[in-house]
């Protein structure tokens, strides 16, 4: 509930709109309360008294009131939607900005789908509740109170008869909510399970057929389909009681008003017009009463969503710029790790354990080790994707935490493990890190990355759309675009993570050439996959369980270190053609 209250701050910039909405709401209320009065006059002063002009006056007033209500209820609906859209707009932007600023350690623990849900569905729930529901709730409460006052003032006994229906309707809604709503959750999860089976049978059809598992899949699907149908039918049965019962309640209220009111007319306590007005107020009353019932129950859902949204907004950003951080400027590219200790959030083991390393400007470092030995952690410390728990990472002798993130990362080019391209043209993607690059520079970068040739093969060349709505590039093509993207930055420090996977031998060769060109003259950190890279490196860093266990050249390590030998051995096996070909020649 605390979070829901906090989400009210999103209403604050909308004070003017809210004032307008409240004025409209009052105008609608006045019209709703006055209309039955004129209906009563039309009957009592007009028809019963035989006065034609009294009828006409009352009818004209009724029409004017309807117009008033029309105009202001339009204003009310429109303004409320505007407010709620503003709430959603601000909330989405805030969430997005927060997400794009949060460091890797946050994103490591989140799934894209989960975050998407928060920015879309959760925001939508809060939008409806805070932006619209809350004010509608206020409007409904005021309307109900207004009607009660008028009814009690007119004839309190008949008022009690009419108002009896309100608690009954609340009770029915309560029943519906408690008996039916929980089942909606069951429907969602069963529907989800059913759709997963269908999805798997579409995407994994070859496996299903290869193992002749059609009967098994069919049984799974039919069982879940049956289960889903059952719960849907149960919901339907319960709703089929709840909804007609509320209508019955309204009808019974009408009946009682006519009966009790009728007796009062016969006794001469009230006029026929008053009776008709009471019936008319009943109609005014029902809508808001339903509204209150359902909105009250929406609070719970909105509170859950608010909590999930604020969870993101309150997430601590592990990597934040120091106040007054200075710009790094042009660097030489000297990198040093001093006793760096790093642990992933929630992990038990240290990913980096007292790592010290000095890489002079222009050197190439190959980082080797088994999976989970800390290879990626090392390279992620340099652009400050993570901060160490203790120790320092220095670039040109300056602690990376003392400079702005922009200036630090602007000096570092990265080719990451999974090559992400964005929707847009190939040109946009290559110029991603330097949008102001000239077309010539883009082409030059692509050429150096061995990408120019295949890009030229597309009908639209560099203007070919890639990503969601564009052509699908192969893994190797994506990688070369990513290399061109890093090249265009002309960075002093270069980081390559596992950068050739999912390509055939021919492409791998081309990528290798592009990379060799890319590394020349820069301080380069490479998570090495190939023996050729290792041989050419100025230094090899061998990691095991977060510790640097050896540094040196290929030949040194081969002599001195058993683990290195083991890793190289498996590496060499992959490059078997070298040996085979050498023999053949």
């Amino acid at each position: 509930m605390k979070h829901l209250r906090r989400s009210l701050i999103f209403l604050r910039p909308n004070t003017l709109l809210m004032t307008g909405a409240i004025i409209s709401l009052v105008a609608v209320l006045v019209s709703n309360l006055l209309s039955p009065q004129y209906l009563q006059r039309a009957i009592d002063d007009g028809i019963s008294a035989g006065n034609q002009s009294a009828i006409m006056n009352a009818v004209i007033m009724l029409l004017l009131l309807a117009l008033l209500r029309g105009v202001f209820s339009f204003a009310q609906t429109y303004l409320l939607e505007r407010i709620s859209q503003n709430v959603a707009f601000d909330m989405r932007n805030l969430l997005f900005n927060k997400l794009s600023d949060l460091s890797f350690s946050y994103h490591d623990q989140q799934q894209t789908g989960q975050l998407m849900t928060r920015v879309t569905s959760d925001v939508e729930v809060i939008r409806q509740f805070v932006g619209q529901g809350l004010l509608n709730l206020v409007a409904a409460v005021i309307t109900v109170i207004g009607v009660i006052i008028v009814l009690v003032a007119t004839n309190w006994q008949l008022a009690i008869v009419e108002l009896l229906s309100i608690p009954i309707i609340f009770a029915l809604i309560g029943f519906f909510i408690s008996k039916v709503r929980p089942l909606f959750g069951v429907v969602q999860s069963r529907l989800g399970a059913l759709n997963t089976i269908l999805q798997e049978n579409l995407a994994g059809i070859r496996v299903v057929r290869a193992f002749a598992r059609e009967p098994y899949e069919q049984k799974r699907y039919l069982t879940m389909n049956e289960a889903l149908m059952d719960v849907n039918i149960t919901i339907n049965k319960r709703s089929s009681v709840a909804f007609p019962l509320t209508f019955l309640t309204v009808n019974v209220a009408t009946l009682l008003v006519v009966l009790v009111g009728g007796i009062k007319v016969i006794n001469g306590t009230i006029t026929v017009g008053t009776l008709v007005a009471f019936l008319s107020y009943l109609v005014v009353l029902i809508g808001p009463v339903f509204g209150i019932g359902f909105l009250a129950t929406a609070i719970g859902r909105a509170a859950v969503s608010a909590e999930r949204v604020f969870e993101v907004l309150d997430a601590r950003n592990e990597v934040e710029e120091k106040p007054g951080a200075r710009s790094l400027g042009q660097i030489r590219g000297d990198v040093e790790f001093r006793n760096v200790v790093f642990k992933f959030a929630g992990a038990e083991q240290q990913a980096l354990d007292d790592v010290s390393l000095h890489v002079p400007s222009g050197h190439t470092v190959a980082i080797m080790g088994r999976t989970g030995s800390g290879k990626s952690s090392i390279i992620n410390m340099i652009p400050r994707f993570y901060d160490p728990q203790s120790g320092q990472v220095l670039v040109d002798g300056i602690d990376v935490r003392d400079v702005t993130l922009d200036s630090l990362r602007g000096n570092i080019g990265m080719v990451l493990q999974d090559t992400v391209l964005f929707s847009g043209t190939i040109r946009d993607n290559i110029a991603y890190g330097r949008p102001e690059a000239t077309p010539d520079e883009v082409v030059a970068a692509a050429r150096a990355a061995q990408a120019d040739e295949f890009i030229g093969g597309f009908p639209d060349g560099y203007d070919t759309l890639v990503g969601e709505r564009g052509v699908g590039l192969s893994g190797g093509q994506k990688q070369r675009v990513a290399i061109a993207r890093a090249l265009l930055l002309n960075p002093r420090i270069l980081i390559l993570d596992d950068s050739t996977s999912a390509v055939d031998a021919e492409t791998e060769y081309q990528i290798q050439q592009a990379l060799d060109k890319l590394m020349r003259g820069r301080t380069s950190f490479v998570i090495a996959q190939r023996i050729s890279t290792v041989r050419n490196a100025d230094m090899i860093v061998l990691l095991d369980e977060g510790k640097i266990i050896a540094t040196g050249t290929h030949d040194d390590l081969l002599r001195e270190n058993a683990l290195y030998g083991e890793i190289v051995d498996s590496q060499l096996r992959k490059d078997e053609p070298v040996a085979a070909a050498e023999e053949a020649n």
Partner: protein
Amino acid sequence: MQRRGGPSGRGPQRGGGGGGRMDIASLEYAAQLADEKAANAGGAARRLLAYLIPFRSKLGLILVMVLTSAASQAVGPALIGMATDRFIKPNGDVTGLALTMGGLALVYAVGFFAARSQIALMGEVGQRLLSSIRVDIFQKVQRLPLGFFDKNPAGDLMSRLLNDTEVIQTFVGQALVQVLGSVFSLVGIIVAMLIQSPLLALVSFSVIPIMLIMTRIFSLWARDAYRRTRETIGDVSANLQEEIAGIKVAQAFNRTQAGQQEFARRNALNRKATMSATAITSAFQPLVDVLGTLATAIVAGYGGYLALQGRVSVGVLVAFVAYVQNLFRPLQLLSTAWTQAQASLAASERIFELIDTPIDLQDAPNAQPLPAVNGSVSFENVSFAYDPAKPVLNNVSFTAEPGQTVAIVGPTGAGKTTVISLLARFYDVTAGTVRVDGHDLRTVTQASLRSQMGIVPQDSFLFAGTIADNIRYGRLDATDAEVEAAATAANAHEFIARTKDGYQSKIGERGSGLSQGQRQLIGIARAILAAPRILILDEATSSVDTRTEVLIQSALNTLLKGRTSFVIAHRLSTIRQADVILVLDAGQLIERGTHDELVALNGLYAELYRRQFRYAQN
């Protein structure tokens, strides 16, 4: 049943006011349905109706209930009107009033009962109908030719099917009975009004055409506006998805600020589009209200005039006020129902189209189960083409002895995948014969063939469930010990044991949470458990870390041992170990032999080999 809120931009899914469900009579609902028509609406409607045949008697009962409910709505106000005329006046008749109200109570009770039964029955019919459509879709999906899935990506197919079944569900489960109810109550009310005062009735009806025309116009406006809303929210979601997925790259390249600006821009466009749609829909309801009051005013004004002249009674006036108020919702429902009917017919048509897709590959009527095989495989003059103008395989012949490993190599598009697809009989040959142990594949049942065959695809497809479930997919009755033994043979046991719940660890969607190498190992364990006589292996091209690579290689060696194996090979080590290498180019089998023989031959294989070597030397 329940529509979820959320700007997915797909279907009409905006929950209103926190109530959870959207009013299907509302302009927003109709406007958000895709604007489309069935090519053959009559045909689609007949097919849909055919699904209703098993529910004939229930539908009859529903009809009775709908009629009863409509009648009670027409009679109620008339009874109140009668009471007003006869009993409710100074010194009137209390007994008469009480009796009339007793009658009214009875009418309401009957109305409640009828409405209740009608909703319950129709809901059930709708659910059962939907359930059988779902089953039909699923059964069809299982029999569709594989070529169908090449042309229709799973994601597209999935979202289309979900969307279409949902549109049908809403229409059949809710809209149909409401529309039916509306027609009857409309007729009931109109008849009741005409009986009580034809003149006043006709004058009151004058608002009906205005109402219909207004709804139509607003629907058209709303439809355009909502299309823009859908598009813009789709842009927001797409951008969001991409940026979240690529957040690390954005941070690495200092692009977060630019990304934020772009998101804010799309977000603003969506707000603008939504507001123009809102301007239309929020004007509609007040206009309907004004129109309703106009109708009431006509009744009160003209009716009052008639009452003064003694031509109608006050009771009739009271009844008419109630009737006029009840006239509008059915009218509104009817005017949006047309759009809904069209949308759901178009959706049904697409579903029926899927159900009607011809299946080219069926067991022959006299197909025999394939007996346990030794595993000899022969292709005799096999040709294959999806499209007669473009042959994919041309007159390919070869034989593999039981236990041999056959490596298939060749450039991309040479027909490698086609060879193994024909062997698994995912497709039928266009000409020639594929035989296993001398049996023509077309004369044996598909189930018996594939149960003796194991397939390890490039990217091992994993199902939602536990690791054990996924391995056991190879043989459903395998014991836990057998599953573990297979995992051990596939070098997967070590990493599985290290996961939190071991074999019972849940695998996320499509194997998320496991590395690609680990997924491959599970795929291999699955094939080992199936213990097939014939094995088909599409070797993965992607490189995994070196240790895993070694594990995979040795697991594959275990798997290939003693089985007739066909391998689409990318690794030289695999190729060199093969008993026979088949070299394909442009659908032709151009070379065959061992590695050494083919290198000596100095043809395409030697060239492919040299190209690999060239890269390696650098």
